[in-house]
């Protein structure tokens, strides 16, 4: 008798717990969507006057599109430079930690890299503008002298080193821990059987990594890169401090270019009226870019998952 009662009770409790938990998780899911929708709505409402204003009233005097276009390109350039530097380094560091380094070294190295993520971006900016920029000046001078025929290296190089390339390097350091930490987590999850099978077939360590670890981890690497891209696109303070902003320029060694996030941060404190609306419209564009990037990333990841051989 008593046993049946207990079972009934626990079953009933389980049922209640189940519905409470599913309710909570549903609530959390709805909440995040609601917040996202509210942000989008706010941006759109506040940005609306910009789209309705006559073209000559918008900064630059040629309409919002002409104003935002160089900023979008600048944002993308900075993010691409950052990813081009951080992706290979981040993946290699993660591989070193997961497959090459002895445990005694791997732990501290992983820890130190995670620490990079905890440094506030204003510190990166201050370091970039005071230390990194000036120490890159000789390199930029050399690049402009020897590779000046390539448009992106055309001179004269900046005397302060505060260029979009420097900003990209600083961003690369900032996003490194994201790529490394996520890739490492994925690499260590590679099924041991796959790895041992590869080794048993006579593969060297590099061949084993290429045949088992990398294919298994590909979706993970991509999503880590996309997360890092999100940070690089939205990073504000470091770029605002490091970059000598200006009109769109092809050369990465001269001052010029500007990112959306930095443009907003630098002009927001004194903005009002239409200018404020313009900056919020710029924020809306950045929001849309990030959304599109994430959707593309999702699509790529689902595509690769089917062929990863993980299952």
């Amino acid at each position: 008798m008593s046993t049946t009662v207990t079972t009934k009770k626990s079953a009933a409790g389980g049922k209640a717990g189940d519905s409470v938990f599913s309710g909570l998780s549903l609530g959390a899911g709805v909440l995040i969507l609601a917040v996202l929708a509210a942000v989008a709505l706010f941006l759109f409402m506040q940005a609306l006057p910009t789209f309705q204003a006559p073209a000559e009233d918008v900064s630059g005097g040629e309409g919002f599109f002409a104003y935002i276009w160089p900023l979008v390109i600048g944002t993308v350039i900075a993010a691409v430079i950052a990813l081009a530097i951080a992706t290979p380094i981040g993946v290699l560091v993660a591989l070193y930690i997961s497959h090459y380094a002895p445990a005694r070294i791997a732990k501290p190295v992983a820890y130190v890299i995670d620490l990079l993520a905890a440094i506030p971006s204003v510190i990166y900016g201050a370091w970039g503008t005071t230390v990194l920029a000036s120490s890159l000046v000789p390199l930029y001078g050399w690049l402009a002298e020897n590779f000046g025929f390539i448009p992106i290296f055309s001179g004269p190089a900046s005397q302060t080193g505060k260029t979009i390339l420097t900003a990209g390097v600083v961003l690369a350091i900032m996003i490194l821990p994201i790529i490394t930490a996520m890739s490492r987590e994925i690499f260590v999850q590679t099924p041991k059987l796959h790895e041992e099978a590869a080794l048993a077939l006579g593969a060297t360590r590099w061949e084993m990594i290429r045949m088992t670890v990398l294919p298994f981890a590909r979706p993970g690497i991509i999503s880590s890169v996309m997360l890092a891209l999100g940070r690089a696109l939205g990073e504000t303070m470091a770029v605002a401090l490091v970059l000598s902003s200006g009109p769109l320029t092809a050369s990465l060694l001269q001052s010029g270019n500007q990112t959306i996030a930095a443009e907003i941060a630098l002009n927001f404190p004194e903005a009002y009226g239409l200018r404020l609306s313009e900056l919020i419209a710029a924020g809306l564009v950045l929001f849309l870019i990030t959304l599109v990037v994430n959707m593309i990333a999702r699509a790529i990841i689902t595509r690769y998952k089917e062929f990863s051989g993980a299952n």
Binding site: G60, T129, T130, A133, S134, S158, Q159, T160, K162, A240, L241, L243, S244, S245, G246, P247, S255, G256, L266, N267, P269, E270, A271, Y272, G273
Partner: protein, 370 residues
């Protein structure tokens, strides 16, 4: 006259570092009949709200602290949302005072009559900061340049330090052939706007762009965020030149600016002289201190590149408490102590005696409406 005298002594009491516990007896000995201003002399209380210029923020924080220390019952809130936002909120009645790098334009002034009574709002230039043109050339401490030369340097027309245009004005200096690297602000700022106003007035043929708080993209050069940023970049780059609040330039060399026949290096006195020599804005109350600086002044010893930031008050407030508070806080800001506090905290140039007296006379007009 008598009222203004009363007001001033009352304000001095309010701002003084006198022990506040003794204020009751001070009132009695001061003047018993001063019921209108008496409250200001004692411990003013309540909350005063201001919105405005972010350039004033450092000074304003120091003023808030100093004022609240002396008046424990009073709170001053200041939100550095920008000059334009401050003026907008003030004329709409959303703030008790505004801090602004520009005075109310005619339209805003008319609108201010709605909230401030028939006389409209008035301005007090409580924050004055000379803008130095600073450069990094080892061994060179000062260079003479007239307005046109400065404009040509900042628009990139003059590219090296030994350019004849500069050398001719500095026969004694040994100028190298170092390239000039112009460094400007990349954030919108009153410093940039005032510097451009000077260039547009002193060299209208060279500086053809419209004056604004942003550096024109046509002449974009190296830039950095904030005063500290441009000074840092200039310090790090040989041959760099920038403009910045004079208090922040440190060891950099500075330009003596051509005024009339002479070259004037920046100083607090020279800046105050330029402010005194300015013309009052027409159509305002006679005690109003809104002014148009004469950037192309030829007044001997005046330094024309100055940032003047105003506090904008109403001559009439709806409640006695707000009127007392506004008067006491305004008087504290323009007092010798208040000006020194701002100079220590934000590096502004203290107002001259003449200006302080005029400002105090204007502030004494503040009364309750009705």
């Amino acid at each position: 006259m008598k009222a203004s005298h009363l007001g001033r002594s009352a304000a001095v009491l309010a701002i003084g570092t006198l022990a506040l516990t003794a204020c009751g007896s001070d009132n009695a000995t001061g003047n018993g009949s001063g019921s209108e201003t008496g409250a200001a002399a004692g411990s003013v209380s309540g909350t005063l709200t201001g919105i405005g210029s972010s350039a004033q923020n450092a000074a304003m924080t120091a003023w808030q602290n100093g004022f609240q220390e002396a008046n424990s019952g009073a709170t001053v809130q200041y939100s550095p949302d920008g000059s334009g936002a401050g003026r907008e909120a003030f004329v709409a009645g959303g703030a008790d005072f505004a801090g602004s790098d520009a005075y109310l334009d005619d339209e805003e002034y008319e609108a201010s009559k709605e909230v401030c009574g028939p006389e409209g709002a008035f301005h007090v230039p409580a924050y004055i900061s000379p803008i130095a043109v600073a450069f990094n050339l080892p061994g060179v401490e000062t260079v003479n340049m007239d307005g046109e030369t400065i404009a040509q340097v900042f628009t990139g027309e003059i590219k090296t330090w030994n350019n004849p245009a500069i050398a001719d004005q500095n026969p004694e200096a040994d100028l190298p052939d170092t390239p000039i690297t112009v460094v400007h602000r990349n954030d919108e700022s009153g410093t940039t706007e005032n510097f451009q106003e000077y260039l547009a007035a002193a060299a209208p043929e060279v500086w053809t762009e419209e004056v604004s708080g942003n550096w024109p993209s046509q002449w974009a050069a190296e830039n950095n965020k904030g005063t500290a940023g441009v000074v840092q970049s200039t310090n790090a780059t040989e041959g760099a030149i920038t403009y910045a609040d004079a208090s922040a330039v440190g060891d950099l060399g500075t330009v003596a600016v051509g005024v009339g026949e002479e070259y004037v290096p920046y100083s607090s006195e020279a800046a105050a002289k330029a402010v005194e020599a300015s013309t009052p804005v027409e159509g305002r109350a006679e005690y109003d201190m809104a002014m148009d600086l004469e950037r192309d002044t030829t007044e001997s010893g005046a330094y024309p590149i100055v940032l003047v930031s105003y506090e904008i008050f109403c001559p009439q407030y709806d409640s006695q408490e707000t009127a007392d508070l506004a008067k006491a806080f305004g008087s504290y800001m323009v007092s010798e102590e208040g000006q020194q506090t701002a100079a220590d905290a934000a590096g502004s140039a203290p107002m001259s005696e003449t200006l302080r007296t005029r400002a105090q006379e204007a502030l004494d007009r503040i009364t309750v409406a009705g």
